[in-house]
């Protein structure tokens, strides 16, 4: 991983004691950890030691932790997690499976794109969750309507990014390939696809966030189980601790997904310069 600090000049070898050296080496991690620790501490103190607000509204990290442990021990947490996980995985997976090739095709075939542009723009701009009542009418309250909602929520950023990635392939490279009499297939394989990968992955990131929103909304509306349903139920009974357990789970799932995408990106990314390092 490229580090973001500027290489130290050779002349700048002032003797530093080890704490300073240790700090400079791990600056990013230390500062990040520090703010999180400070935040959690203040929250904890605000909730219990100096009761700034009623714990029913504010909760505190220790209460969230206890609620989480309790839910885990009762087996409910794993059940919710399993239900939501299956929905998220299949909904997101299908949206990638359909969205990436569809976006690439739209970017590659001009007329295809012209034909579907109005639909895409309308659906991209619209809040897809508005379709939920209709989906329920069509498919009932089972997993089909939920998967469809998640799929619809995630697919549009994926399609749009893949399409624009293909459309913005550097023209100079295509011209060079044509100069060597490259076939359309060769141009597609050796220029269009590789140059599109970073943008497609950016679309997958956006799609992951949308898919999680889809999971939550679908469960809010039509579920017997799932993390979203757990949050909704806890919210209705003023159980702030459990609500926050759900929120934390959603962010952890989101972060894991993004991290996986980062790992994939790194595999495709060896050739790219990293000015200023990676964030």
């Amino acid at each position: 991983m490229a580090e973001s600090h500027i290489d130290e000049a050779i002349g700048d070898e002032r003797p530093r004691r080890w704490p300073a050296r240790f700090y400079l080496k791990h600056e990013k991690k230390i500062l990040g950890t520090l703010t999180v620790v400070v935040f959690i501490t203040i929250w904890e103190l605000a909730g219990s030691v100096w009761p700034v607000a009623n714990p029913i509204f504010l909760s505190s990290p220790s209460r969230v932790w206890h609620a989480g442990v309790q839910l885990y021990q009762s087996g409910k947490l794993l059940h919710h997690l399993y239900v939501s996980g299956v929905e998220f995985f299949w909904g997101y997976f299908l949206s990638i499976l359909v969205g990436v090739p569809l976006g690439i095709a739209l970017g590659w075939y001009r007329r295809f794109n012209y034909s579907f542009d109005p639909f895409l723009n309308a659906l991209y701009a619209a809040p897809v969750v508005a379709f939920l009542p209709l989906l329920v009418i069509w498919m009932g309250v089972g997993i089909a309507s939920k998967l469809t909602l998640i799929f619809m929520a995630a697919i549009f950023p994926i399609v749009m990014n893949a399409r624009d990635a293909v459309k913005t392939t550097p023209g100079a490279l295509i011209e060079a390939a044509r100069s060597f009499q490259a076939s359309q297939y060769k141009i597609f394989k050796t220029i269009v696809l590789p140059s599109a990968v970073p943008f497609i992955l950016a679309g997958l990131r956006l799609g992951a966030g949308r898919a999680l929103i889809g999971v939550f909304v679908a469960e809010l509306y039509i579920a017997q189980a799932g993390v979203g349903q757990m949050i909704a139920e806890a919210g209705a009974t003023f159980n702030t601790d459990v609500v926050l357990v759900g929120v934390v789970i959603f962010s952890i799932v989101g972060m894991i997904t993004l991290e996986l995408l980062t790992q994939i990106e790194r595999r495709f990314d060896k050739w790219r310069p990293h000015p200023g390092g990676r964030v």
Binding site: A172, L173, E175, A176, A177, R178, S179, F180, Q181, A182, S183, K186, T190, I191, P194, S195, K270, W271, R272, P273
Partner: protein, 265 residues
């Protein structure tokens, strides 16, 4: 000497998107390039030099006229020509070696002989130690060396070069000119070299075609009678400067006019 490339009455017209009026980029361009000679094209910016060589490379089709290679009419790109682009146009996700292989791959010549050829050329252009580096790890001059090797790899009969050194700094540029002559001597291609630097054209070429603009056409042909090999010091010889002055005199008024128009518009 046999004629390698000939264009007869080559013309190119565009329709302006704005008002649909016609814009004549090239009119009646007649060029003869003799086999294994180095021909440079100079002219003020916007005179249609790049349009002309893109037609020669087959990337765009002329609206009138014909082009002959070895006396046979051609349309479209072919194995017999290869282009060194102004921007290096290297594929950023491919190493130097795989970039040099690219043209060969496109032409379905991805075999051991080609790989050996690519390696030899990488050495010839002086990138022997950088085979597995990516383009962003190379300097501008090195990128152009790679670009040159990629064009030479397909073993074209005509090498087309579109201001290949324009983006380089002055010193690198001089050295690359010298390098190009060395490489040319070893590979012996017919070269069509576009530049806006008169000095560069005179130093490199056997023959300089002076373009005039609006519409782009050949204004004059200057044969450069300087001995080869040419050391860089030849640029300070009286004869060299005379050529330079002569060509500059042809271009000057037009270049000034273009400049004024640009300021006014």
């Amino acid at each position: 000497m046999t004629v390698k490339l000939e264009t007869i009455g080559l013309g190119m017209q565009y329709k302006r998107q704005r008002d649909g009026s016609r814009f004549v980029a090239l009119a009646d361009v007649n060029v003869r390039v003799e086999d294994k000679t180095f021909v440079a094209l100079v002219g003020p910016s916007g005179c249609g030099k790049t349009t002309f060589i893109k037609i020669v490379d087959g990337l765009i089709k002329p609206t009138s006229g014909r082009m002959l290679i070895d006396g046979k009419p051609v349309r479209g790109p072919g194995n017999d020509r290869a282009m060194v682009f102004q921007e290096p146009c290297l594929l950023p996700w491919r190493s130097v070696f795989h970039n040099v292989m690219y043209g060969l791959e496109c032409q379905g010549r991805d075999d051991d002989a080609s790989r050996k050829r690519a390696r030899d050329l990488i050495r010839l252009v002086g990138l022997g130690n950088f085979e597995s580096n990516y383009p962003h790890e190379l300097s501008g001059g090195m990128q152009q060396r790679c670009n040159l090797a990629r064009a030479l790899a397909v073993d074209p009969e005509i090498l087309i070069m579109d201001e290949p050194f324009a983006a380089l700094d002055a010193q690198t540029r001089e050295l690359m000119q010298d390098e190009l002559l060395r490489i040319w001597k070893e590979t012996r291609k017919s070269v069509l070299f576009v530049t806006h630097q008169i000095n560069e054209a005179v130093y490199l070429a056997d023959q300089v075609l002076v373009f005039s603009s609006r519409p782009g056409s050949i204004r004059d042909v200057v044969n450069i009678d300087l001995p080869r090999p040419r050391p860089l010091a030849i640029k300070r010889s009286a004869k060299f400067l005379e050529y330079e002055d002569r060509i500059w005199a042809m271009i000057e008024s037009e270049a000034r006019q273009t400049m004024q128009e640009e300021v006014l518009s």
